[in-house]
């Protein structure tokens, strides 16, 4: 396509020969020009700029390396700070990848938790059956990748207790979650077995309200907020990388704190 910035009257081609050394000098600066262009693209975040595949895969490999470092640094026995009940925010803060009026409440009476993958007993669970499991309460900080945080009181069964109860292969790499709001998520097995990772059913002593994930959501003290899927409908234990909603859009998969 002809450039809209091309002048009407082109200079004589012989001019190029006259200034050959100068043009070579300009070419040597191509690297800088390329760098400036990439910088300009990065600034134009509002535009739908399609980045070259090479840049994308290089950035993804750095992110995967970071995930590996985070997993290596993770201490399965180290607990996150806990707080007094007086500091609990009631109600908690709502967030999702869509607006509040698009929340679709889940019917607890017909809801079932489905199980899949490397699990011995894959029978589905009802709300009452989940409630009857041994409960634990964590007053922990929810830290969002966007920069805000709040202290919340979450109660439910430890994910480690649940996984052992259903005969999950805890040597598997991943625990994946499917949700009613189409927000797939997954965590590493070490984080899944951490004592402060729970399948929460209550907030501040009350059944979790619809906008915060009724009847079942994940709460883990060791990961950023986006690693805590709400309205869970299925849990899968797998060795195949399951990814997640934000992870497929470039967010770190490990998302550790």
């Amino acid at each position: 396509m002809r450039s809209p910035f091309r002048p009407d009257d082109l200079p004589e081609k012989a001019v190029l020969d006259d200034h050959r050394p100068l043009i070579r000098g300009l070419e040597r600066r191509g690297l800088f020009r390329g760098g400036l262009s990439l910088g300009a693209l990065a600034i134009l975040t509002g535009c739908d700029v399609r980045q070259p595949e090479a840049v994308q895969s290089a950035l993804l490999s750095i992110s995967r390396f970071n995930d590996g470092v985070q997993a290596w640094l993770f201490d399965p026995n180290k607990l996150a700070p806990t707080y007094p009940a007086s500091r609990v925010l009631k109600p908690p803060k709502f967030n999702a990848y869509y607006n509040i009026n698009q929340v679709r409440p889940v019917n607890g009476a017909t809801w079932r938790l489905e199980l899949a993958g490397l699990i011995a007993d894959r029978r589905p669970w009802t709300v009452q059956e989940i409630d009857a499991l041994p409960q634990t309460t964590d007053i922990i900080k929810h830290i969002c990748v966007e920069g805000w945080s709040y202290i919340g009181e979450w109660s439910g069964v430890r994910l480690s207790t649940f996984l052992r109860r259903v005969g999950a292969d805890t040597r598997a790499k991943y625990v994946a979650f499917h949700t009613a709001d189409d927000y797939p998520s997954s965590i590493d097995m070490a984080s899944a077995l951490h004592p402060q990772t729970i399948l929460a059913v209550r907030y501040a002593g009350e059944t979790i309200a619809d906008p915060f994930g009724y009847p079942l959501r994940l709460r883990t003290s060791t990961k950023l907020g986006y690693k805590n899927p709400k309205w869970i409908t299925a849990i899968e234990v797998t060795n195949t990388y399951p990814g997640g909603y934000w992870e497929s859009r470039g967010f770190s998969w490990f998302g550790g704190l």
Binding site: D8, K90, P91, F94, N95, N99, I100, W148
Partner: protein, 157 residues
């Protein structure tokens, strides 16, 4: 030649607008959505999953404008019931660095909870500027241990 220069500026302008439009669309998507035209405040509040909250927990909260910069419009001073029985938040509104602010009464159904803050989603600052200065006459303070229901919003940034 002159026309050519003009067309270049138009093309550059269109490119800038395309970028600006996309950024605008992103920033407008999340956060406190105003009531749809013609919808009453209580009906629009009902769409925002109103949650129980103790009046004492609302006092002194920052009140934000639902825009990406999350400009602080004021702070909640008290919660009152007006002559017609509707619950309102008395917001110490406007001013600069705490000087020149004045109390205005904002219907609670025009506001949302945003974590530890609140937002006014049904009125723009231009509309709020025309709100009368609050007078306690004819209103009843809502006791601080009362539980009221307030809608939610996701962050506007």
């Amino acid at each position: 030649m002159r026309a050519k220069v003009g067309s270049r500026w138009i093309i550059a302008g269109v490119v800038l607008l395309a970028c600006g439009g996309a950024a605008h669309a992103q920033s407008m998507l999340p956060g406190g959505i105003p009531p749809p035209p013609g919808m009453s405040l209580p009906r629009s509040a009902a769409m925002r999953f109103p949650q129980p909250v103790q009046v004492s927990a609302l006092l002194h909260r920052d009140v934000l404008q639902p825009v990406p910069s999350q400009r602080v419009l004021g702070t909640v001073k008290s919660i009152v019931r007006n002559e017609s029985g509707a619950v309102e938040a008395v917001v110490e509104y406007g001013g600069f660095l705490g000087f020149g602010a004045r109390p205005i009464a904002v219907p609670i159904d025009a506001m949302v909870l945003l974590g530890r803050d609140m937002e006014i989603v049904a009125y723009s600052p231009r509309q709020l500027n025309h709100f009368p200065t609050f007078s306690a006459e004819g209103t009843m303070p809502v006791p601080s241990d009362t539980i009221i229901r307030v809608g939610l919003a996701k962050p506007s940034h």
